[in-house]
């Protein structure tokens, strides 16, 4: 059923794919940063502070999306007893955590000149901090335990607990009054961001996704090598 993502198939191709992806990432990040910092217009209220958004928003999306993937894969690995899903989850976590921190830090840098504060305990920001804690616990759960089985169990539990937080983050700005503004880029309703600002946002988003993919493939590769060294070529 899950033959396509069998580690033995991925192993042969991932080296080449990784190089191509990294090359693509360099091109896109240069184009994205030029677009975000230079060619895109300033905002009518925020002025140049709007440029922080081109890093902040993709980072936040990716950290959310990555945790969603970790959660769903962990659930699937529990249902189908597929260890490979767990290894994929494990390899996704570090870049997701990094983007979570980037989102929090850039948000804070943006908040000071616009809101007038570095930090606010509103629902969105607090839930995002909670996601960071879940990421940290998830990553640590793979480090602190001795037995492979314990690692897998504990990390799955953390992933399932944490996945409940994901929709809370997404909809916090609609459910409660928050200092954080509600979302400007909408699929179902009209977006409230001007099209000239969508361009750099999309380029940066794609660049960051590719970056995550490169990090993931590197991690996954080394996990597979570790497994092969243990003499377990079947999962």
């Amino acid at each position: 059923m899950f033959k396509i993502i069998n580690p033995n198939n991925l192993f042969g191709t991932s080296n080449k794919i990784r190089k191509v992806l990294f090359f693509l990432f360099i091109i896109l990040i240069v184009a994205g940063l030029l677009e975000a910092l230079w060619f895109s217009p300033k905002d009518y209220i925020q002025n140049h502070a709007v440029r922080i958004m081109y890093v902040h928003v993709p980072s936040a999306w990716i950290s959310l999306g990555t945790f969603l993937a970790i959660g769903v894969l962990s659930i699937f690995s529990f249902i189908f007893k597929n260890k490979n899903f767990l290894i994929i989850s494990k390899c996704l976590a570090s870049s997701g955590f990094m983007f979570n921190i980037v989102a929090l830090v850039t948000g804070s840098i943006w908040g000071k000149p616009t809101w007038g504060t570095w930090w606010a305990w509103d629902a969105r920001i607090t839930a995002m901090l909670l996601l960071g804690i879940f990421y940290l616990m998830y990553i640590l759960s793979w480090q602190v335990f001795e037995k492979e089985e314990t690692k897998q169990k504990v990390s799955t539990i953390i992933a399932i607990l944490g996945i409940v937080n994901v929709p809370i983050i997404k909809f916090s700005v609609d459910w409660w009054s928050t200092l954080h503004q509600s979302s400007s880029v909408n699929i179902l309703s009209e977006s409230t961001i001007h099209s000239s600002m969508i361009v750099p946002l999309v380029i940066m988003m794609v660049a960051f996704v590719i970056f995550s993919a490169v990090i993931f493939l590197m991690k996954y590769n080394s996990e597979i090598i570790k497994l092969k060294n243990k003499g377990l070529d079947r999962l």
């Binding site: 217009p41 300033k42 905002d43 009518y44 209220i45 925020q46 709007v50 958004m53 659930i75 529990f78 249902i79 189908f80 000149p113 616009t114 809101w115 007038g116 504060t117 606010a120 305990w121 509103d122 629902a123 399932i160 607990l161 996945i163 409940v164 809370i168 409660w176 009054s177 928050t178 200092l179 503004q181 509600s182 979302s183 400007s184 409230t192 961001i193 001007h194 000239s196 600002m197």
Partner: protein
């Protein structure tokens, strides 16, 4: 299609997730007052018991033509277009603080229409556009 064990594990995880979501829902429902970052003037107006000695946040729009600077303080009215609260504040204000823009004030209620703030935050809305587009929109709305 699915084996018996697979199906029972799927049902189990479904029940776990449902109860987790339910727990989260109940938790947030009971904590609602602490989850919201600020109250609107109407929520203040409708509130049964108000602790005047407890620090709270109120939020809304700064009403047009109500910002008044004096030597020691700045006064303005926060409105949600139904109810209003008169705010007195002394201290530094954020750059984005302006009339007809969102604001959150932290401080103490003196009564239901009178607020003594010791911190002001500007709330940015979800609209992002270049200055030229805003000018064009303003022109359009004036016509």
């Amino acid at each position: 299609m699915l084996g018996k064990k697979v199906r029972s594990r799927a049902i189990f995880i479904f029940l776990v997730l449902t109860s987790l979501i339910l727990t989260a829902y109940i938790l947030f429902k009971s904590l609602e007052e602490n989850v919201v970052y600020f109250l609107s003037p109407t929520e203040i107006y409708e509130k049964q018991e108000i602790h005047f000695d407890k620090k709270i946040r109120i939020g809304g729009m700064v009403k047009k033509n109500t910002i008044k600077h004096s030597a020691e303080s700045i006064n303005f009215i926060i409105t949600d277009f139904k109810n209003e609260i008169y705010v007195i504040y002394s201290g530094s204000i954020p750059n984005l603080f302006a009339e007809e823009k969102g604001v959150v004030a932290e401080g103490f209620l003196k009564d239901k229409n009178y607020f003594l703030a010791d911190k002001i935050l500007a709330k940015h809305d979800e609209n992002y556009m270049p200055p030229e587009v805003n000018e064009a929109l303003m022109k359009e709305s004036k016509q």
